[in-house]
Symmetry: C2
Amino acid sequence: MSESPLLIELIEALRCMPGIGRKSAQRITYHLLQRNRDGARKLSHSLLEAMDKIGHCERCRTFSEEPVCELCKSGKRDRSLLCVVESPADVYIVEEAGFRGLYFVLMGHLSPLDRIGPEELGLTGLETLLDEGDITEVILATSTTVEGEATAHFISEMVHARQLKVSRIAHGVPMGGELEYVDSSTLSHALAGRREI
Amino acid sequence: MSESPLLIELIEALRCMPGIGRKSAQRITYHLLQRNRDGARKLSHSLLEAMDKIGHCERCRTFSEEPVCELCKSGKRDRSLLCVVESPADVYIVEEAGFRGLYFVLMGHLSPLDRIGPEELGLTGLETLLDEGDITEVILATSTTVEGEATAHFISEMVHARQLKVSRIAHGVPMGGELEYVDSSTLSHALAGRREI
């Protein structure tokens, strides 16, 4: 055995991160010990702080260290548009695309086998938001998996019941994508969703 | 701004790890917050412990939380062979290859421009080991860069002065490697180092 117990422990602990296998963990461990102990101490502190203090926004359910997140509190957002996404990472992506309405984060999708039903997705919270009266359109940006589609369908019925507009983001050929590399299911969506120009 | 300050801080802190860019750091942050807060807390603890408690073995200079490392203390090693490597990660690699002697870890290589001389590489410690009288052969396994070769040359003179055997690990075509993919400098080493069979 050529490695000290604490070193082995750190290598194992690093593997809690997605995409980090034994080799990468080892490389990271040696790098930090040899060249960046201060960075590693800072990381240790940041990890603990984040895990202990970051909870969920009580309105939109995204990650937030305050009871209500920055986006929900902001006066600069279009409060008539609500985009429903599956995870906080999706909020970041939709923001990057230039959306300026509000969000609702499901933190998952309907999955009866895993016992994830409307309650686990906080859909009563979504109903409360809809009943406040500001929202006129709900945009469903759940993923295109079977579960994501089922979740979108479930929520669309909830929104329809309130006589509000509901839409699904377009699925089709990605920008810059060549037809050759697009799978047939995406292409059939693109054909069905064609628009007159 | 769609991300909370603590979240942004963690994403930045994760980037102290080699090979982790902004995208990976973000993915790791969301994953840990959403699925593995306990793993992240454990990682935080391990990082701090390792950075604070792991120092260097006073004999061979590899990483160790004890004054003398397991390998140097072990009674099962061949104390007549000493393998000189550049970093603790190299010790692990040479161990895997089945070497059962002792090590000396330079923690770098000679590099006058970076003000790394014999003193920074702990070569007086190496001299002390050589003068103890157990070692009969020193194997130089520094890297094949200009600095690595210069370091090997410097140490070989030190060892020669004590009338001890000194050797350099073989450089040539990697096992399983096809000639087609081998660079010419490696191949010229392989030719010069040919052995009669």
